[in-house]
């Protein structure tokens, strides 16, 4: 067991999962990740670059990833805003990479050293155009480690950027953790066909085609323009339609593999608390207390916020009288809950934007109002 900080666990996990390229720009509260990578990467033959801004950071990460190297960056709100341009490029060109966005208070410079969960919608729709999104949210230091590995695996498996969204509390807090002795690591599929047969965006036989490392003889073209299966820009309506839909399709098809949600006590729950990040820790404490006091309360921790776990929430809506959604923002993910339950049950937000974490007490107070006391346990 070791005492470890969230940011440190992210860097450790990235190194263990095979990240060998990091480009970033200093920004609170994510900087420890860059600092640690700058020390550790050259020790394992990897490369660290401090770029001139976050735009360049993600550009360098995409460039490195195209050569077949696992690559990542880490930032916070203002930097994440700057990355949206090249994030779109990575979605469009289907280049795997990891973007860690440690959420601090916003908008703008906001609260650099205080937590928030204000970037949940930006992680979904921050860059222009229709695009898929995978965003994972850790709620503990161990989660920081596990979900970083998972995010990298999903990026490689689905040829897409993946966003890790810790909040400032999770990133900066220190906990005792026992890191897994062995981790499963997924590497991107490589082409097995002769050079002339390779199409970088071929979807005829598979949803996610292999990605050839640049410089290994395949000499293909990569562009942010809407492209055909060979990677060249197209203005043919049928090809455009196919290209845009395919980005979404691969995510839809593997939704169940991507979504990871922890939940318990749902079967008899009158009220369910659904939270993510540090709020899920407060929610856990609140649910345990409410249960101890005899209230029938269930718990959901959304480790994957995007894609959203619609099916689970639809099921919960059939049985629970209310779903409580605590968030350190003015109500972002709660909209997805509203969309999922279609009025079948009550969705109750708890919001906090004063730079402080939502406490178990806040949640207990709401939950005990909504739920009837059950049998004393």
């Amino acid at each position: 067991m070791v005492l470890m900080q969230g940011n440190e666990a992210i860097a450790r996990a990235a190194l263990d999962a095979g990240v060998r390229f990091f480009a970033g720009y200093p920004i609170t509260p994510s900087t420890e990740i860059a600092e640690m990578m700058s020390v550790e990467l050259p020790k394992v033959g990897g490369k660290f670059l401090q770029m001139e801004d976050e735009i360049a950071s993600l550009a360098a990460v995409i460039g490195a990833s195209l050569t077949g190297v696992k690559a990542m960056t880490a930032t916070s709100g203002p930097g994440f805003s700057l990355m949206q341009e090249n994030l779109g490029y990575a979605y469009m060109t289907e280049v795997p990479c990891l973007i860690v966005n440690v959420m601090r208070g916003g908008p703008s410079t906001g609260l650099p050293t205080h937590p928030s969960q204000g970037d949940v919608m930006q992680a979904r729709w921050g860059t222009h155009g229709d695009h898929p999104a995978i965003a994972l949210v850790p709620s503990s230091v161990l989660d920081c480690y596990r979900l970083t590995v998972r995010a990298l695996n999903l990026a490689e498996r689905f040829r897409t950027p993946v966003i890790l969204l810790p909040d400032e509390v999770v990133a900066h807090m220190r906990e005792d953790v026992t890191l897994p002795e062995k981790i499963d690591v997924c590497d991107r599929e490589l082409p097995t066909v002769p050079y002339e047969w390779y199409y970088p965006y071929d979807d005829s036989t598979t949803d996610v085609g292999p990605l050839a490392p640049v410089g290994t003889g395949f000499r293909f073209h990569v562009t942010g323009l809407t492209h055909d299966r060979a990677g060249f820009a197209t203005t043919v309506p049928a090809e455009i339609d196919r290209a845009v839909r395919n980005l979404k399709r691969k995510m839809d098809r593997f939704r169940r593999e991507i979504i990871q949600v922890e939940h318990w006590n749902l079967s008899d729950a009158e009220v369910v608390v659904a939270a993510y990040g540090i709020c899920a820790r407060s929610a856990e404490a609140a649910v345990r207390e409410a249960r101890d006091r005899g209230y029938l309360v269930g718990y959901i921790n959304l480790k994957t916020v995007w894609p959203f776990c619609f099916r689970l929430i639809q099921r919960v809506a059939e049985t629970a009288r209310a779903i409580v959604v605590p968030e350190m923002n003015l109500g972002q993910l709660v909209r997805e809950f509203d969309r999922a339950v279609c009025g079948k049950t009550q969705v109750v937000p708890i919001n906090r934007v004063d730079g402080e974490a939502i406490t178990p007490r806040q949640i207990v107070d709401v939950v005990t109002e909504l739920a009837r006391p059950g049998e004393e346990s």
Binding site: F21, A23, K43, D53, A64, S65, V214, G215
Partner: protein, 283 residues
């Protein structure tokens, strides 16, 4: 594949272009980009770089469409960012020959910050900036290299702003190699491009080019040929300059190698660090 040096100029060009689907190209007749592309291809062949190792990276704009047509590893990135993408590629895989093709709007306006930091960082990249003094792709707006007083669609009364001297800018920012060529002097351009590719360190080549469709029409050039004559009459070979009188050099652009230094190269320093740390680890 035949040895590139044995091919005649036309065969050589076809050897390095992508034949399928990609032609006709989108450049206007009289544009300087095609001539520059020819010079770059001849330079790559002359340097005998294996084409599988060549990565051509561009941003957005007319010049940045070049990677579509050439048979290398090609990357058409976001506006102004090709240097940042190229930096990632080169640092991750220093054995690749990374050539950035960009324009004045791409590299000096939206990408200006990346340009100066790339000069300072001194990674072994080759940058060919095709400077036509205007935004061609979007229809003729003023760029950071539009000369003061010249007309553009966003400077109908003449541009108030002073133009960047890209060679002074990059030399001042610490580039290892800085050169200026002109489309009119295509053979010299080819030599400069080859020198830039061979140079270990950050190499920047500005290509004085012409956009007859917008810059030419707005600024009273009668034809592309007249614009090429302007290049002939307003540029001076840097080697001839010392013998010329100050009045003769007034308002003239110098052509040739303008800066050539030996600075420590980033990826070599980094590889040395990795090797040193590995040795330390063995102890």
């Amino acid at each position: 594949m035949a040895e590139p040096r044995e091919l005649n100029p036309s065969e050589l060009m076809h050897e390095y272009l992508r034949p399928k689907k990609k032609f006709p190209h989108l450049w206007c007749s009289g544009c300087g980009i095609g001539t520059t592309m020819g010079a770059i291809i001849r330079a790559i062949a002359e340097c005998e770089v294996d084409r599988d190792r060549v990565v051509m990276v561009s941003g957005i704009g007319c010049s940045s469409r070049m990677p579509v047509y050439v048979d290398f590893n090609t990357l058409h990135t976001t506006h102004g960012r090709p240097l940042a993408f190229a930096t990632g590629i080169k640092v991750a895989r220093p054995e690749l020959e990374v050539i950035v093709v960009t324009g004045d709007g791409d590299v000096a306006a939206i990408g200006g910050n990346h340009l100066i930091h790339a000069c300072r960082r001194n990674i072994n990249l080759t940058v060919i900036c095709i400077n036509n003094s205007i935004y061609g792709m979007t229809g003729g707006q003023a760029s950071p290299t539009t000369p003061q007083g010249k007309i553009a669609t966003t400077a109908r009364y003449g541009d108030f702003e002073r133009a960047f001297d890209l060679c002074s800018l990059t030399a001042g920012a610490g580039a290892s190699f800085v050169a200026r060529g002109a489309v009119y002097y295509a053979r010299q351009l080819e030599k400069l491009a080859a020198q830039a590719i061979r140079k270990k360190g950050f190499a920047f080549v500005e290509v004085v080019s012409q956009c007859p469709t917008y810059f030419g029409r707005f600024n009273k050039f009668k034809s592309p040929v007249e614009m090429l004559y302007w290049q002939r009459d307003n540029t001076v070979n840097v080697k001839a300059a010392p013998k010329m009188a100050a009045e003769e050099l007034e308002g003239k652009l110098l052509r040739g190698v303008l800066a050539d230094h030996e600075y420590p190269e980033f990826t070599e320093l980094y590889d040395k660090l990795i090797a040193d740390l590995a040795k330390e680890g063995e102890k």
